[in-house]
């Protein structure tokens, strides 16, 4: 189960935002100057010790970092193999890893003199995290969210509104994350002179995949130090769910040069052969969506397909370009877990560990059970528990969940 020896150049992307053949900046000309300005500002401020200090302070006092690394004793015993550790991003402020990135980007927006932010959201976690950071700094905030996601993630809509954000419903397409991102990009083209677009994943045009990664690697840096302190050695495998892929990159990246297996878990929805899934790396082909080249779910004629997952945060037909590169080079492995398996893992983690995971994170937990079972007792597996599951109670308790479990059981 060791990763392939292909070199994993942690130095990527190059200065035009390319990870090998992936990444880049495929956007309307109107946005190019804004992206170039953003890239310059990001490089300048990320090298500025005062910016780093301010962000570190916020991550500690406002977001509650570092998040713990918990040995999941009963889950490990249940799996019957390797020791499973959980990186508790669910305990970060607002209940997911998304706050790491939004604090960074909102700080950057302030330094660039932008007073308005916009963002897209799927499950609502990135929307809540953006609205939270905007409220903390008194910026005006508009969040674009698909109508289907508004329906299935209603509590997060309420949270965003309480935080002072305007939630803009997007009815186009399937009313999910892809459509929200389309509309956010349109809104940005319209207001690019005074508005900062806070992208929530390692997707989108350069510099977003780089910038979001840099703000999320705090997850992997902490986990690395924590496992060394707890076990005296590096783990054997890291497991994280992949929609756009920000929590996975955040965990993986500080381990790229180590001999640690990296496993990304995509949403298989009703099964990767059902046509209703979000396994972009597993079943997609190379294309350009939302400003970068990566794997996408598309027709042979290059039209983007609708994705499907019970988890709104994974319900996306694209994926960050660095994941495409990690897949191509063999440095990371990508697998998929069905709706039903994720729902079962959700319930299991509740009962065995007293933790309600986000449905997104439950996909990683589901794969961790298999991965741990296939490894010896002395092996160590770290799972990124990227968010908490309170937002998903209506889905898990509702009739949809029963149907999903029956359909693919």
């Amino acid at each position: 189960m060791r990763p392939s020896p292909a070199p994993a150049p942690a130095a990527l992307p190059d200065d035009r935002g390319h990870f090998g053949p992936f990444g880049g900046r495929y956007v309307a000309e109107t946005l190019m100057p804004a992206l170039l300005e953003l890239e310059g500002a990001f490089r300048r401020f990320s090298a500025d010790p005062a910016f780093a200090r301010e962000l570190a302070g916020l991550l500690a006092d406002f977001a509650g970092r570092p998040t713990p690394l918990l040995f999941a004793e009963r889950l490990s015993a249940h799996a019957g193999g390797a020791a499973i550790f959980l990186k508790r991003e669910d305990l970060a402020h607002t209940g997911a890893h998304k706050i790491n990135n939004t604090l960074g980007q909102v700080l950057l927006a302030r330094r660039m003199g932008k007073r308005k932010v916009i963002a897209e959201t799927g499950a609502g976690q990135h929307g809540v995290a953006t609205a939270t950071a905007a409220a903390r700094f008194g910026l005006s905030c508009r969040i674009f969210m698909g109508v289907e996601d508004i329906r299935r993630q209603a509590t997060n809509v309420q949270r965003m509104r309480l935080l002072g954000a305007e939630v803009v419903p997007v009815a186009a397409g399937g009313g999910t994350l892809k459509d929200a991102m389309n509309e956010a990009m349109r809104a940005w083209v319209d207001t690019v002179d005074d508005t900062f677009y806070v992208i929530g994943s390692v997707a989108g045009p350069h510099p977003y995949p780089l910038m979001v990664r840099e703000f999320q690697t705090v997850i992997g840096r902490e986990a690395r130090a924590q496992i060394l302190a707890a076990a005296g050695r590096l783990p054997d495998a890291l497991i994280a769910c992949v929609g756009g892929g920000s929590n996975a990159i955040g965990l993986f990246h500080p381990f790229l040069e180590d001999g640690v297996a990296l496993i990304g878990v995509e949403a298989a929805g009703e099964g990767v052969d059902s046509g209703r899934h979000a396994a972009t790396l597993g079943r997609g082909t190379v294309g350009v969506l939302h400003g970068s080249k990566s794997f996408v779910l598309q027709t042979p004629a290059g039209q983007i397909r609708e994705a499907h997952s019970v988890s709104a945060g994974l319900d996306y037909p694209g994926v960050g370009p660095e994941h495409a590169w990690l897949k191509e080079t063999g440095r990371a492995r990508y697998v998929a877990v069905t709706d039903a398996e994720a729902l079962a893992a959700f319930r299991l983690l509740c009962r065995l560990e007293g933790i309600l995971p986000a449905l997104e994170s439950a996909h990683a937990v589901a794969w961790a059970l298999r991965e741990a079972a296939a490894r010896p007792a002395e092996a160590i597996v770290i799972v990124n528990l990227s968010g908490r599951g309170d937002k998903d109670l209506a889905i898990v308790a509702g009739p949809e969940a029963g149907m999903q479990e029956e359909k693919t059981a």
């Binding site: 880049g24 309307a28 109107t30 946005l31 100057p33 804004a34 083209v189 207001t191 690019v192 290059g302």
Partner: protein
Amino acid sequence: MNRIEETFRRLSAAGETALVGFVTAGDPDAERSLAVCAALCAGGVDVLELGVPFSDPTADGPVIQRAAARALAAGTDLAAVLHMARRLRAGHSVPIVLFSYYNPILAYGAEAFHRDALEAGADGVLIVDLPPEESAELTSRWPDRRLALIRLTTPTTPPGRMRAIAASASGFIYHVSRLGVTGGRGPDLTGIERQVAALRAVSTLPVCVGFGIAQPEEAAAVGRLADGVVVGSAFVQTIAEAADDPGLAERVRRQAERLKGALPRKQ
């Protein structure tokens, strides 16, 4: 000399302003779209932009988004658009510019697209989401420059970048007259005058101005400042309203005629 160059030369000699007409190909279906394109030509459109429908048109407003959805529902893909161009070319000498997002062209293949577009009688291509930074991956695989790559400039384009874009452009320059997506509010004349002057300073190519131009008066005002005026959403809106009207083509023809008639003569 290709048809685009030829057309602008002829118009310039006659003191005319070009009317560039955009429709989404295959909207509402192939046959009616073909009739609409023929009507645009009959109505005086000097350059025809055929939009290739895409599932995720992030640079388009609601009018063209809905047109793309109708065209896709009717089964239009890039191959079908090229077929339409071929049929149009059989009866018309108007320059045809394919207007696309990058992904359908990427899926079609760079070489195959170049070959088939030229074979179908297209004269140029404008790719909304392929800035100069990324376009070499496409054009480096083209055997020649017979297919013009139309470049866009916008109100946010700084002078240095404008110069670089102009240097790599061919055919004409499409100047997006304001921020935002296609359709919507009218043109900002003060801005356009300044931006076109900046373009003139760095390029000898014809400059066509688009986005938000719907009415003959607007076309007339913008036409005084540029070599050509692009009208898109206004035609597409007519198609949406009159899709099932047997008089659709005639309505589009009259609309084009009114717009062309309003454009200023320069001498």
